[in-house]
Symmetry: C2
Subunit: 197 residues, 2 copies
């Protein structure tokens, strides 16, 4: 049988480092992989490929394999920059198919409790892009959490002097929601931001 120092146990240890994967799940995944050496090879090669190929875009800091990324180098409106916390948020916005501008990934949000200040984010690079480019609007799409809101507030303060229009994603009732079950703060936002029909 396998000892604690075996390669399988080392694999279990590596799998346990992943978020939401504990000892038992890691063991189950390892035994599943063990059944298929071809899958193990594919996963291993895939990991190396991602490690070697994927990096942040030098312009917008979205993860990409080419530099500049397909959005920065594509046929998009460079006059409007959407600021997001990370590349996952960018992907969610792209899925909506409702945005034709470019992006700027901050790589996080201001969080004094975690020791993350403005200098730890790509804010200086954003300011630089606005200074040099022909940007007329910045859409702040940080998350609607304490950290995201703090970041939005900070960005508004430092970008206002540059004279660009600054906007924020709309607050409101999500699609398909029953108003009865929506939290009071969201209903308040939806009322304040009501649109004339």
């Amino acid at each position: 049988m396998l000892t604690k120092s075996s390669s399988l146990m080392r694999l279990v240890g590596e799998l346990k480092k992943l978020p939401g994967i504990g000892e038992r799940t890691a063991l189950r995944l390892a035994f599943h992989l063990l059944k298929s050496p071809r899958n193990m090879t594919a996963l291993s090669e895939s990991l190396c490929e991602v490690r070697d190929r994927v990096h942040p875009c030098s312009t917008c800091f979205a993860i990409t394999e080419n530099d500049p990324c397909s959005i920065c180098s594509g046929n998009r409106d460079a006059g409007i920059i959407c600021v997001v916390e990370n590349s996952q948020d960018l992907m969610a916005l792209e899925r909506s198919n409702a945005y034709q501008g470019v992006y700027h990934v901050l790589e996080g949000a201001i969080s004094p409790l975690s020791g993350i200040g403005p200098s730890d984010l790509r804010i200086a690079e954003l300011v630089e892009r606005i200074k040099t480019g022909s940007v007329h609007e910045v859409v702040i799409a940080t998350n609607f959490t304490v950290e995201g809101e703090a970041t939005a507030l900070y960005l508004t303060r430092i970008l206002k002097p540059a004279g660009v229009k600054i906007s924020r994603l709309a607050h409101g009732i999500p699609l398909g929601s029953d108003i009865e079950f929506v939290d009071a703060a969201t209903v308040q936002w939806a009322l304040q931001g009501r649109n004339e029909l």
Copy 2:
């Protein structure tokens, strides 16, 4: 941004092949790994190591790095063989520290619905071990499922003629259980198998 054919999406595809991991979890794991190239390397190397080193023991078919495995080659009672469905079950029995004999891993259980018959399992090898060795008892520790019970029944029938003692793990109330909540069949087994104090 990344296209559907990017290495990250291929990694997501590989991760999705794992049990219990869907599209969203795979994406979350991939982005987590992306943050740490060192973890990606370690996981990749670990996978290759397991693929290259771990194989079934030629005697008992438990997964091992050495052949014969540490149990088969260790100071264990070779006169008693515990038959399990897979190496995970073997590990559970080893954790109990209550067994000093050797094992035999069937690599599955008889399951006509999945097209798994006795010839797909390591049953011939078990019969061979019993014929040639000085085995006096076979403990059947297949799972207490329909497939496991069918396998136990089959093994009993084909091993009886060899003249070895055949036993099965005891049915009963699990430790720490409230009898109120134990299923009727288990209570029935516990009553039938009651022990005199």
